[in-house]
């Protein structure tokens, strides 16, 4: 494996992405919506207006959380406890979908896109090994997604700590579980999904087909988001650690299989290959 070439492929893909305003402007808007604008409206409404009816409804919803999750909710007032639960269990998990959406959009087009634009011919004739091309493209697909995780959750943390923090006795986000989620669980799930998306991208005939098919691949991460939202992952402290370990293993297996899925002929787009 020539890591220099891997880095070159990844860097070049990212450079093209950075110049594709028609791609990243909508994606930045999506990230802003889920990490900043919606949370600001929801949490601001809850803590600022203090609507009794809203708080009561939310408190009823929180009863559905597992006991271990309920134990972790901080705050002395109903408004504070509701805002805390909203920030940790309801809003943040939904935002997890954003990085996956961004990375999937990049990954789905990456190999089939080379073929559609005719640039796959250049790569196919180049000395770069197919696994170097595959890995470079995987890194280029994961990077925008994980960058969104870092930037998005940094913004989100500032927002919730500034709005909800005073109600619950100080800065609280990311919680221990969210640190695990961001650093241990999300990266391998992102890698796993993307390695599957890239394999799809190598096999289908058009970017549109790759994007449609990649919707199925994103299901695992949606399940993670759902688990986080329902507090299942908070039920046992070891569960996220195990889940992360399993995801890392699956991601590595999928990566190795992905290496084999990319053949030079697939970069050329020849009928019947």
């Amino acid at each position: 494996m020539n890591w220099q070439r891997v880095a070159t492929v990844a860097r070049t893909d990212l450079k093209q992405l950075a110049r594709a305003r028609d791609f990243w402007v909508p994606m930045a808007a999506l990230g802003s919506l889920f990490f900043v604008i919606l949370p600001a409206i929801l949490l601001g409404t809850l803590t600022g207006i203090g609507s009794v009816e809203t708080v009561e409804r939310l408190s009823t919803t929180l009863e559905a959380l597992p006991a271990s999750a309920k134990d972790q909710i901080q705050g002395d007032t109903p408004e504070g406890r509701s805002a805390y639960a909203l920030a940790v269990f309801l809003v943040a998990p939904v935002a997890v979908i954003v990085p996956l959406t961004i990375s999937t959009a990049v990954g789905a087009a990456t190999i089939v896109g080379e073929r559609e634009r005719g640039t796959g011919e250049f790569l196919a004739h180049s000395p770069a090994a197919t696994r170097e091309i595959y890995l470079g493209k995987l890194i280029a697909s994961i990077t925008p997604g994980y960058l969104t995780v870092i930037v998005g959750f940094t913004c989100y943390s500032l927002l919730v700590n500034l709005t909800v923090g005073p109600e619950v006795g100080g800065w609280f986000f990311p919680t221990r579980q969210w640190w695990l989620m961001i650093l241990w669980v999300l990266p391998p799930f992102l890698a796993l999904c993307l390695s599957l998306v890239l394999r799809l991208s190598a096999r289908v005939n058009s970017t549109a087909a790759a994007q449609q098919a990649s919707g199925l691949v994103s299901l695992p991460l949606i399940m993670i988001a759902y688990s986080q939202a329902t507090g299942v992952l908070f039920g046992a402290g070891w569960l996220p650690i195990v889940l992360g370990a399993v995801a890392w293993t699956l991601a590595l297996v999928s990566l190795v299989r992905g290496f084999r899925s990319l053949e030079r002929s697939r970069l050329l787009g020849v009928a019947g290959v």
């Binding site: 093209q16 000395p127 030079r264």
Partner: protein
Amino acid sequence: MVYDSETDGTGRERGELAPAPEPTPARAPTAAGGAERRPAENQVATVVDVSKRFGEVQALEGLEIGIARSRITVLLGPNGAGKTTAIRLITGAFAPDDGHVRVFGLDPSGDGGEEVRRRCGVVSAKPSLYDRLSGIDNLRYAAELYGLGRGHAVDQRIDEAAAWFGIEPALGQLVGGYSTGMKTRLALARAILHDPELLLLDEPTSGLDPESARSVLRLVREMTARGRSVLLCTHLLAEAEGLADEIVVVDGGRTVLRGEPRRLAGRYWPLPQVTFRSFDERGLAYLDQHPRVIEAVPVDGGVRVSLSDEPAVASVARWLAEHGTELRAIVPWEPTLEDLYFAIRAEHDLDRTDDAHARDTTDGKGARR
């Protein structure tokens, strides 16, 4: 069976019918198999009896190509003949279903692939450039993939390659804004950036203005003068005229004929050919009655004759003068590559029907559906 007008390292005499190649395994024979054919010393690449199928379509069947060191080999054939597929086999982008390919003595679709591709420069029929990158970024990308690295020395090399094709001023612009000709020139600059030993050009002058096309052909000639070898695929006979050291005529995925143009022409026109021009063309009408004239064909402004031997020219000229025909010119006739190409096609009955054209291509190049 392929008619080969040259010795190809197997000891055959020129002009002798080449024997059918030995059966070879579907994949390249291994050293353990003990049957590995080594390329002739003067050949950088050999494609021997290669077949390739894409789904239901037999794209190649019995393709034979030899690329001699420091020479220009021109692959001639209509669209869909298998020229692009041949290039893809040589770089190892495809593995042959049958037969074998050796480049620099290595199997390009096996372990030797990386080295083969590093030593080859390819210009594909479409420029395959990244529109969202600038010209210089496209070249830097290639430089890094081909192991040249980064830095001042590489940038200097990039400038030299760009200057050769006159695209230096546009290097900072995004390629998406380039004209077709500029894209082709950038693709050419990219192909020679790493100073390849074997240059594979797939219709490199398509979309180029005459000036740029000429600089491409100049480059091709200079590459061979510097010891590099070139495979030029084209269906433009004028492009290959005067450039081809060897031609390979392909059709329907198989090699029809290969050899040096002059020798091949000698096979089709073994007798001296001369065109007699006269102020009074009626006086030439009796040329075929001269005993040393084998054949006489009226052409524009005169009559072209096949003579039994070269001294017969003087004899015929005297004979015409004696019969009162005043000659304006006697012009030796040399067949052009176009004459040769169509003679070969006619001999092998390769005139295509519309149906054959309709079967032909596809997605780009090469694989016939």
